[in-house]
Amino acid sequence: MTTTEESAAQAEAPARQRALSGWKGRHILDLDTFSRAEIEHVLETADAMREVLQRDVPRVPALRGVTVATLFYEPSTRTRASFELAGKALGADVLNLSASGSSVEKGESLIDTVRTLQAMGVQVIVMRHPRSGAPYLAAAHCQAAVVNGGDGWHAHPSQALLDLYTIRRRYGTLAGLRVAIVGDIAHSRVARSNIWGLTTMGAEVVLCGPPTLLPSGIGPRISTAREEVAFPHVTIEHDLERALRGADVVMALRLQKERMQSGLLPGLREYARRYQITAERLALAQPDALVMHPGPMNEGVEIAPEVAHGGQSRIEEQVTNGVAVRMALLFLVARGG
């Protein structure tokens, strides 16, 4: 009855098998259930989608007759627009639904809503929710494929896949690259999904931020080598210069102002002084290191404007690639591999 590692692995096995039995109807909840080959398959499919987007008429009828609903319980501009454009480029009917704050309060409304959508014939539900794990609840209660468009602090798999895609387009591979993720790791779903994706693909991941933004048990600390951690294969670094040294990719994360109110940081000024990605600090990374940011940016806080808009920045390309990657995901779960 004790949850030893062995029994945990046994518990994991059947769920994994089911989660991985083909693409059609598969829930895309996080990258923790993705193998390297599956991530490769998404990225290769995205290559084909990128080609479609470069045509004079960037449309194909691959998902004609398929209805995709975007169900957003939290405001979002870019993720929602990106999924909507992706669905439309494939000829799907896209239904955009927003839920007001009050209906977030009761879990039943989420289950009701996804069942209702399923009863109306929706095949794919793209979901954004402020509570970690909410897409798992939805997936447990409906047959439609649930694509996680971001849940709480937990996961944002389509963002991580577009980040992997953007890095792979530049380097051709992810294996062996050093990727520094800098900033508010504690509250970042983007960071968590990227850690799964990058480590699965063989990249070396360095997490950097002040101790109050690096949550308990996220990665190994040298002092307590034997403690259990969420991500055993990452490196934790509180010193930005050391984190950046030799990096092939530098990802900055958005710092939310409420982190100051909750006492995690003294203030923006000190944060920027210690953790802003500046041109001077970027020079410590590889000469042509990529600069990335999931957006929206606080220029002058986590990233200096000249870096955000400089020659090494891939921030706009990330947005462009996002449409192709989301086309790939919608195509795979609606039509199969």
Partner: protein
């Protein structure tokens, strides 16, 4: 089996009575007034219990019966039925009902409902503060006179240290303990599970172990200051165990309980859930306060129970309605429906070699009785001594059974043990010399 008015003879069972140091094959005669010395009366029925274990009726110091106010989660009747199925013949009812048990009228109502249910004994626990609001003392003497056996604002700690000090002084004057839910409100704020790698992986806000330990440390010092008895409820961390050990070494009036789920499960239950779940499971049935902790905490609690540092096991039975759990993890109601799995969980730990059988039974019989001094009120409670209340449980130690919450008598089907196979099962439960649960009859229904 029978339910006639005369004495019942239980023949041929292995009688294990840790309170008296008895472990032998003996006959036991149960009368309505109490346990009878053998051959002092003629039994009207004899139960052939050869091959079974006979132990005193279990005593649960920590149980949420939900009545009055939340009868859709549990009633005193269904709670006592669940207790009987689990082998519990005495349950202490926590006062976080609606209205809370903070005046004699509510105590009387609870006792009347328990009497009407006609099975098992309810010992009410009164609030420490009026309305559980943590602002001023409830009328503790009136609550004591009405039948409360202890005081607790369980679910919410008494945050104000000065108020807690005065509560201890006042309760100490009445000779009753305060049962302390240790949770520093600032450190625990917003935390929905144990702070550690699982919470970090799942993106959930955690409660650090220090939230429990900080308040346990405070209240141990207040016990030293006041000389009053503090009973630490559902302790869950290695740090609290260390504080408890030190307090006992100092001879302070501190006792403590641990729940079956903190002995058997860790925070990984939230991640992995029952065997058939998606990955990660975000299993709301594993959401409980205090949260399921790390493996090192679980082991520390188990060792402390085994060596007697922790006095007893209490279920913290917290039944909830389906919709309280079928929702997003961080808005799910915390709590586990525990009365019907407690014995199976403990005997599975015995089977694994983590506890002796004698200690496991002690922890739900004489252990809780001595921790709260309940035998001052009910002489012999928690034992099978002649004259003791005729509360007893027959157990099949070899039975293996799968936890199927849909078959619980409790209205609360919320358990993280769903689908697990447990060892050891209650065959029959006797309270006040009457058969109140018969597994064979239940199986026929």
């Amino acid at each position: 089996m029978t339910d006639n008015a005369g004495p019942i003879l239980i023949h041929g069972a292995r009688v294990l009575d840790p309170g008296r140091g008895v472990d032998a094959v003996e006959d036991l005669l149960l009368g309505r007034e109490g346990i009878l010395a053998s051959r002092t009366a003629t039994p009207v029925a004899t139960i052939d219990a050869r091959g079974l274990l006979l132990v005193p009726g279990f005593v649960d110091l920590h149980c949420h019966l939900r009545e009055p106010g939340e009868e859709h989660k549990e009633t005193i009747r269904t709670g006592l039925e669940a207790a009987a199925r689990g082998g519990f013949t005495t349950v202490c009812a926590m006062p976080n009902t609606r209205p809370p048990i903070d005046n004699a009228a509510v105590v009387e109502r609870v006792l009347a409902a328990a009497g009407a249910a006609g099975r098992g004994r309810v010992l009410p626990i009164g609030c420490v503060t009026a309305g559980r609001a943590g602002e001023h003392l409830a009328e503790l003497a009136e609550l004591a006179e009405a039948g409360c056996v202890a005081f607790s604002d369980d679910g919410s700690p008494v945050a104000d240290a000065e108020l807690m000090r005065r509560a201890l002084e006042y309760a100490g004057g009445l000779g009753l303990p305060i049962i302390d839910h240790c949770e520093d409100p600032a450190l625990a704020r917003g935390g929905v599970m144990h702070e550690g790698w699982v919470a970090t992986r799942l993106g959930l806000r955690g409660q650090p172990a220090a939230a429990e330990e900080a308040m346990a440390a405070r209240d141990i010092r207040l016990a030293a200051l006041t000389g009053a008895h503090v009973h630490l409820a559902h302790i869950s961390t290695a740090g609290t165990v260390a504080l408890l050990r030190q307090a006992k070494r100092e001879g302070l009036p501190i006792t403590a309980e641990v729940t079956p789920h903190h002995l058997a499960l860790t925070h990984e239950a939230v991640l992995y859930g029952p065997p058939d779940s998606l990955l990660p499971a975000y299993d709301t049935h594993a959401r409980v306060n205090p949260p399921l902790r790390a493996e090192s905490d679980r082991r520390a609690c188990l060792e402390a129970l085994a060596d007697g540092t922790i006095d007893c096991v209490a279920t913290d039975h917290a039944p909830h309605a389906r919709t309280d759990k079928e929702c997003e993890f961080d808005i799910a109601a915390p709590g586990i429906s525990g009365l019907e799995t407690a014995l199976g969980v403990l005997l599975t730990l015995v089977d694994e070699g983590a506890l002796t059988l004698e200690r496991a039974i002690e922890a739900v019989t004489i252990g809780p009785v001595r921790a709260l001094g309940l035998d001052r009120r009910l002489p012999g409670l928690g034992t099978l001594a002649p004259g003791a209340p005729a509360d007893a449980v027959l157990i099949d130690l070899d039975a293996r059974w799968q936890v199927e919450p849909e078959h619980f008598a409790s209205l609360g089907k919320n358990t993280p043990f769903r689908g697990r196979t447990l060892r050891g099962r209650v065959v029959a439960t006797f309270s006040g010399g009457r058969l109140i649960y018969d597994a064979r009859a239940a199986a026929r229904v």
